[in-house]
Symmetry: C2
Subunit: 418 residues, 2 copies
């Protein structure tokens, strides 16, 4: 059978599964999630063995140490997958919730009801734990999911999906609710993302290259999770101790993630006061700072920043620094060079806070708090499928609700239109 | 200057305008909308003259009578454009509304706030009144809009946009908040819909060919307004008089629109009772019915339906008819052949109603009401930009709220992440 036929069958099966999924009760879905978790535990040695083979093949293929680390399924990571599934079982079921309701003058009752999206495709790279995490969230929101992982993790992913399906089946999960594209043919993605009318949403999770390639090919709506070029702006009216703590936290608490700060903006009125103290903290933390000419008059040890620094997501202990003359200039910098992800202001001036919140065009805007809080867990969503940098459908952290859509239920007693 | 440069400038201007638009108060926006309406009135004769030229050119080019009718701007249609703008001024401003708010255990306050999408592109066909309607709605939601109308209406569209901009400018509308692509080069659309990071949403309004072409080319998210293959299902437990009235209304009250019924499904238990009476009403209304074999045993005068009839949007006095053995069979027919737009059940059986509402995968599901109610006006939205057949972002009638997105405002007092 050829690839086109394979993908067609996968999509037909997913649509059929999505029809069955809308009929499942919350209780049944939760029992299925628990059974998936249990089955992962039962198959732990098989998962380790498959992962070992993936690791060997990847080492032989010369993958970097960082890539190998992402690929590895330690016992702790298997435990985390299991806990993740149980945790999702404990989350509130978004499906069926009434979003709003109103009555029209002709007596028609209009109900806006939360419903599953239908068929969701997740295209991801090397981390095999995404397989269980994404499948669990999509399933809880009653979506059929089609998974397409990286080829280096193919054995691990297959073993995990087999466990999820076997565990789920014991508790009545519809067939094909969770499917993995096992072919490593790189054309599979292109086929999949052109199945309009069958696949309802595509979420690429991985580097910018993967996301761009999926967007270029897709006819199905894509929810993008692009990079985070996040800023912290220290206003003239900032509390200096708070500013030092927030900026340090945003940079160093976990530099390799999308909500870490990449550029620091400082109001010129407080640059002399703030930057030398902050530079000391950064030196202690091992952070390399790259500054614009004005900031380098205050802290001359800094490297020179080039224009490229304003648009670079370092994901590392590197920080770009710029002195700005006003809130407006800070906002302009962020809207020009940022990635619409997360940006923070530290200020006690309510007018400056308001302007910043209104004018910064990003999914999350923090006032007197670290950018690191832009996260589904920190927002209390329980779990997240990612952080959307798109503006449509879902923006910022995406939890279970963002894996649903709605329908209108118009309830009448014989109304016709005049 | 070449087309690429032209489109680049339009997009740069739109982004700049969108930054200014977020700062406008509701009061100012409403005054601008009123001034736009007034200016259309002042320029009525110029608009008529431009429209006259478009009509002449189109007649010479051999456009159909139906196309010419759509293109014509009668005084009544100009009045309707003016009223539309004033009506939009009277609608509640969605921008800035708090969608939800909660406090985290660490004291962080999280506010989900409604904000403009940014830059919206509308690509439409011959009706020049769409120019004012779409511009008014996008503007009220504080979006910059880029309009691209059909070439046959180019003079009318230019005159209307000139009026909107001149009227708006008098009351302080930001420059380039409303722009029209005046080039009729067919490559303009392709350029426009690839401006990711500048254009945030594309709405094609027109035939399926236009929508498919835009979707094929677009890298920007597209909100599709596809055809409506709407069904009415007469259940075994239907009130017969209500069923006759609702089905008749759905078919004949305005057959040329997307929420009119195209296929009637009748439960086999009531086919003998329902179909002969209904066929009489349809004959009186001049509707041609095309039935499946079972329905033709009851009403032999019907034409034979072919498989093509189940997927055809007639937009005319034609109706496909099928007898089904169960609610489940009706749902399967709708999910297999429908267009996920609007479908109705007539039934007094609560279990059947519930099953239909849950399992039919359409944006609007009507119970004991005509499909013709799937409409922004009938829903009380005040005005609509269209009826989305997509599942993401907006589904069903799209009003002002659906022309917005949201951002998270995280308000702290110095919180950092541990």
């Amino acid at each position: 059978m050829n690839l086109q036929q394979d993908i067609s069958i996968v999509c037909d099966n997913a649509v059929a599964a999505s029809r069955d999924l809308v009929t499942l009760s919350t209780r049944k879905k939760n029992a299925i999630l628990q059974a998936m978790s249990d089955e992962i535990d039962s198959r732990r040695s098989a998962i380790h063995a498959a992962n070992e083979k993936d690791l060997e093949a990847s080492k032989a293929a010369g993958l970097s140490a960082a890539m190998l680390d992402r690929l590895e399924l330690t016992n702790a990571r298997i435990d985390a997958m299991m806990e993740g599934l149980v945790n999702v079982a404990g989350l509130k079921d978004p499906v069926g919730a009434q979003i709003s309701r109103w009555i029209r003058p002709n007596g028609l009752e209009i109900l806006k009801i939360r419903v599953p999206i239908g068929v969701v495709a997740i295209i991801y790279e090397s981390r095999p734990n995404v397989t269980a995490d994404a499948a669990g969230l999509c399933f809880k929101a009653s979506n059929a999911v089609i998974l397409r992982g990286g080829k280096e993790a193919k054995r691990s992913n297959a073993e995990i999906v087999d466990a999820l399906c076997a565990g789920g089946a014991r508790k009545g999960m519809p067939a094909n609710a969770i499917q993995l594209i096992r072919s490593t043919d790189r054309h599979a993605v292109g086929e999949l993302v052109r199945k309009t009318g069958q696949v309802d949403m595509v979420i690429p999770r991985g580097g910018a290259g993967l996301i761009r390639a999926v967007t270029e090919q897709s006819l199905v709506p894509v929810l993008k999770h692009f990079e985070g070029i996040c800023h912290t702006y220290i206003d003239a009216a900032a509390n200096m101790d708070m500013a030092l703590n927030i900026a340090e936290n945003a940079k160093v608490q976990r530099p390799g993630v999308c909500n870490a700060m990449e550029t620091l903006l400082v109001h010129e009125a407080v640059a002399d006061q703030f930057l030398p103290k902050f530079a000391k903290r950064m030196a202690t933390a091992g952070v390399e700072m790259r500054g614009d000419p004005t900031s380098r008059t205050v802290v001359p040890e800094m490297e020179k920043a080039t224009d490229e620094d304003w648009t670079t997501e370092y994901l590392d202990l590197t920080l770009a620094v710029r002195v700005v003359p006003s809130v407006t200039a800070a906002v302009d910098h962020i809207n020009s060079f940022g990635s619409r992800h997360t940006d923070a202001i530290v200020s006690d001036d309510v007018a400056a806070q308001k302007q910043f919140v209104r004018d910064v065009d990003s999914s999350t805007v923090c006032v007197n708090a670290s950018t690191r809080f832009a996260d589904g867990g920190e927002f209390g969503m329980g779990a997240e499928i990612g952080i959307s940098t798109d503006k449509l459908h879902a923006r910022g952290p995406m939890g279970l609700e963002e894996l649903t859509t709605y329908k209108y239920h118009v309830a009448g007693d014989g109304q016709i239109r005049e």
